[in-house]
């Protein structure tokens, strides 16, 4: 069975500082990994994904994430946080070998960026 964990319910950073939102996963094979962001009263919005290739993937709004197979992690990062980055972030995993179409989402991490 596939699963994903976001160990932090909340992350607080000051504007201009780097941010990291953590995600670990469990699948039997090679994973597909995704990050989505959710603003209040809106649906989830795709940020970036790892399918294959370079372990460092870049996405929307200056976000990036690093796939680490040995640590089964896919942490979301940004070098310099903005107040407008404050939102709810979800990590998702899909096992293409056993669950071709099913994504499992974490419970989310609330990011608060203070001015």
């Amino acid at each position: 069975a596939q699963s994903v964990a976001q160990p932090e319910d909340q992350v607080n950073v000051a504007e201009g500082n780097p941010l990291t939102v953590k995600c670990t996963y469990s699948v039997s094979g090679n994973p597909y990994l995704f990050w989505y962001v959710q603003y209040p009263n809106r649906g989830l919005q795709f940020l970036l994904k790892y399918i294959t290739g370079d372990n460092l993937v870049k996405g929307s709004y200056g976000f990036e994430a690093e796939f680490n197979k040995s640590q089964t992690s896919f942490h979301l990062k940004k070098p310099s946080a903005l107040v407008s980055d404050s939102a709810l972030y979800f990590c998702a995993v899909r096992d293409p070998d056993t669950n071709a179409g099913k994504s499992t989402f974490g419970d989310g991490t609330t990011l608060t960026v203070k001015p």
Binding site: N41, G43, F46, I51, F90, A92, P96, K102, S103, D107
Partner: protein, 115 residues
Amino acid sequence: EAGVVQSPRYKIIEKKQPVAFWCNPISGHNTLYWYRQNLGQGPELLIRYENEEAVDDSQLPKDRFSAERLKGVDSTLKIQPAELGDSAVYLCASSLGAAGGNEQFFGPGTRLTVL
């Protein structure tokens, strides 16, 4: 390009009443998903369609929930009768295909309150 459209945005009903949610996916997206998102949790898949075929409905409570996607485009999710525990946000998403690394595009959701 229009995104995923859902209606209504909000619905308040008494328990034991029926309720229906409608979703129109992004044009050309053959895969459609219905998720339920409880407060403080990530989305949980209820049903996934490939065109008009329901290919994963293992998490759909079939005693009270039903869904259809008759022409492989828009979809309706119904609950009858609703229970207090059904209060949640119901999200619709679509993608170009479930297999592979395609990301999902989410609608704004329908917030259901059962009194």
